[in-house]
Structures are given as structure tokens and as C-alpha cells.
Amino acid sequence: MYTQGLDSLGKDCLHQEGIDSAQLEARFQGKVDADDKIEPKDWMPDAYRHTLIRQISQHAHSEIVGMLPEGNWITRAPTLKRKAVLIAKVQDEGGHGMYLYSAAETLGISRDQMFEQLLSGAAKYSSIFNYPTPTWADVGAIGWLVDGAAIMNQIPICRCSYGPYARAMVRICKEESFHQRQGFEIMMTLARGTEAQRRMAQDAISRWWWPSLMMFGPSDAQSKHTAQSMRWKIKRFTNDELRQKFVDITVPQADFLELKVPDPDLRWDAQAQHYHFGPIDWNEFNAVLKGNGPCNRERLQARQTAWDDGRWVREAALAYAEKQRLRDKTRAA
């Protein structure tokens, strides 16, 4: 969206005579405060640019790596309908990765640079995708809980101050809703099925509940980026606010399925009008983030293999296009 070619024009804006960076920064913040959008060629502070590159590229990586745990079940989906739905969902995740990489590219980073950062471990992706999917119920739990948490996180980003990111998120949120509903429907089918199916559904929510709550990131007291990101309107709510909202809407859904949320401290707090939930195991979160989750190595290896195995295709396609171009040129001459 909005081209690398244009970036070369945009750089001139940095050297306007008579305007110092404090003035530019004040004008920028004024625009953000007025809920105006920042577009690729507009002046922006370096830290804003870098924060966005980090956040959008990690978001894109999460979509791409997120294809792996579910892709695991495409060949083994229980019915043709479920298989078609799962293929469509995984294809959507790939598409979402593409929208987001395009949005990040408008900030002056190339697609290849982002891939390199993912493969070298310099860029992170959502820790949730480092958990395995041993049963079919995991596909349901991912759609319901993981995509549910993602939607909760993403809806406020539709109003993010950076135009290309906000527009990509609008598109993504529209499509995610199908993901969450198909996941809930899988859980509902299992929960109403045989005793073995019920147990499978319960086992899935027991494993995915806490990692889903961790998706909202560290608690507000620990989050180093929150305050600045809120000032820049990259973020609209804090991690803890969104996490609470997610618990409040999801617990009644689990009740409907008659599945148990694996939290002995969970109770409705009538005074606060919120669910009170138990402490999150941040040691687990940090361990997974550092690369020591159940599937970290496997996921990155799969990406590395795809990148290496695809190299000859990328090169051959370029060589073919170049050959066609030369042939057309000769013919025209």
C-alpha cells in the first residue's frame, strides 16, 4: 500500500528549512490528538516509525506462523466441509500476513528484511503459536479462543493513527469473525457429542485457556511500550483492559458449552461487574517468548525450510519475467 517508490520523495520533507524537529514533532502529535491519520509520506518521529515496524511485522509474522498449527489438521479434518472451512481459514491467515507485510513496507522496511528478522529470531511472533495441536478439538479451541483474543486485540487497532495499518486491520477484522464462529461451532459439536468428544473439547480448553490470556501481553505494570503507544494512538486500550474484556465475554460462552475454564480462582464479582480470575504464570510466558515453548524450534524450522525450498521458485520466476521482457522488447524493435 503506497509504494516504496514514493518513499524517496518523502525523505525530502525531513530537510525543510526553518522547521526544526521539535516543531515537526508538535505538529505530528497535534494531528494524532485530533484523530487525524498519519500516512506513509507524512513526517513522523523515528521512534513512531520503529515502533510500528516492530508491531506490524510481528503481527504479520504471527499470521504466517499461525498457519502452521492449524495447517497440521487440513489433511485430517473429520469431514469434507470441515476441511474446506479449514483451508479457507488458513488461506485467510496467509492473506492477513500479506496485508500486514504491505503495511509495514510503507514504513521503509523490505519484505526480505522482515523475513530475515523472523528467521534469525530478531523479530518475534505471538507466543501462542508455539503450542502444539495434538487433537481436532485444538482447531476448534484456536478459532474460538485464540482468534477471539486476536479480535479483541485487533478491533481497537482499526482506529490506529497509522492509516495503512488501520486499513489492513479493518479488512482483517471483517474476516476474523468467521474464524471465531467456525471454531465455536466445532467446540459446540464436540461438546454435544459422545463422552470421548466432550473429553477432547475439555482437554483443549484446559490447554488453550491460559496461553490465550497471555496473548494480551504483559500486565500493565510490566508493559514497557503501553504508555507511549497510547499517546501515539497505536494502542487504544491497555493489555489488562483487553484481557478482562476477553474473560468477561468468553466465560459465559464456556458455560454455554458446559466446559470448565481451568481456573480455580475464577468467580463473578457482582460489585465490579467483572469476572475475577487467578494469576497468570508469567514464567511460562517468558520461557515461550525466549524460545523455550513446546514448538518454537519446529515452527521456525518450518519457516526456514519454506524459505530455502522456495528460493529456486522465486529466482526462476524473476528470470522468466526478465526473459519475457527482453523478448517483447526485441519483437517491438
Binding site: 500500500m1 503506497y2 509504494t3 516504496q4 517508490g5 514514493l6 520523495l9 518523502g10 525530502d12 520533507c13 525543510q16 500516512e39 509520506k41 507524512d42 513526517w43 479457507a88 488461506q91 485467510d92 492473506g95 500479506m98 496485508y99 504491505s102 513496507e105 523490505s110 519484505r111 526480505d112 486499513r167 489492513a168 474476516e175 522465486r314 529466482e315 520466476a317 524473476l318 528470470a319 522468466y320 519475467a321 519475457q324 521482457r325
Partner: protein, 96 residues
């Protein structure tokens, strides 16, 4: 072939329905225009969002500079007489 060569970037425009204009929806990497259209189909029209696609190399796009927006668009700002509401016409005059 150089190790680092990336596929070029294309801007994608889609006509949602017949009778509507093409609208910018995003960008796509591809080796040539034909592949750009095929990839744009997969990335931007998975839910019948379009009936026609335009692609153009991003490097061929020329855009106005946002820093010059004031100079460029200011001249239109004080010409309210270009709008029909500028003219006060009595209510009893019909069909105007």
C-alpha cells in the same frame, strides 16, 4: 541471479461491482503484471470483493507531496460560490 533481488511491488485497484470505479486496496509483490493480477485475486478477492483488477508498478506511481498539500489545495478553499448552497433562492421558486 543476485541473492537479494526481491520481486517488484505493484499497487492493486479493484472494481467491486459493475458501475463503480476501481479503488485502491493495497499492494502485492509479483514478477510481472500478469502474476500481480493472479496474486491480487488470491489476496484481495477471496470473498467476491471484485469483478475487475488493475495493477500498476509502484515505482510508476507519481503522487503529490503531503508537505505541499496546503499550496496545492488552498486555492479551492475560498471559492464557496462553486457550491449550489451558496445561492439564496426564495422557497416559492420550485425546481431549482
Amino acid at each position: 541471479m543476485s541473492e537479494k533481488q526481491e520481486w517488484p511491488l505493484f499497487e492493486v485497484f479493484i472494481r467491486a461491482r459493475s458501475g463503480l470505479e476501481h479503488k485502491h486496496v493495497g499492494s502485492i509483490h509479483a514478477v510481472d503484471a500478469r502474476m500481480a493480477i493472479e496474486h491480487a485475486r488470491d489476496v484481495y478477492t477471496r470473498r467476491q470483493e471484485g469483478i475487475s483488477i488493475w495493477v500498476v508498478r509502484s515505482s510508476e506511481m507519481v503522487a503529490s507531496d503531503p508537505e505541499e498539500a496546503d499550496a496545492l489545495f488552498e486555492p479551492a478553499r475560498d471559492k464557496v460560490y462553486r457550491h449550489p448552497t451558496f445561492y439564496a433562492i426564495p422557497d416559492e421558486v420550485k425546481n431549482l
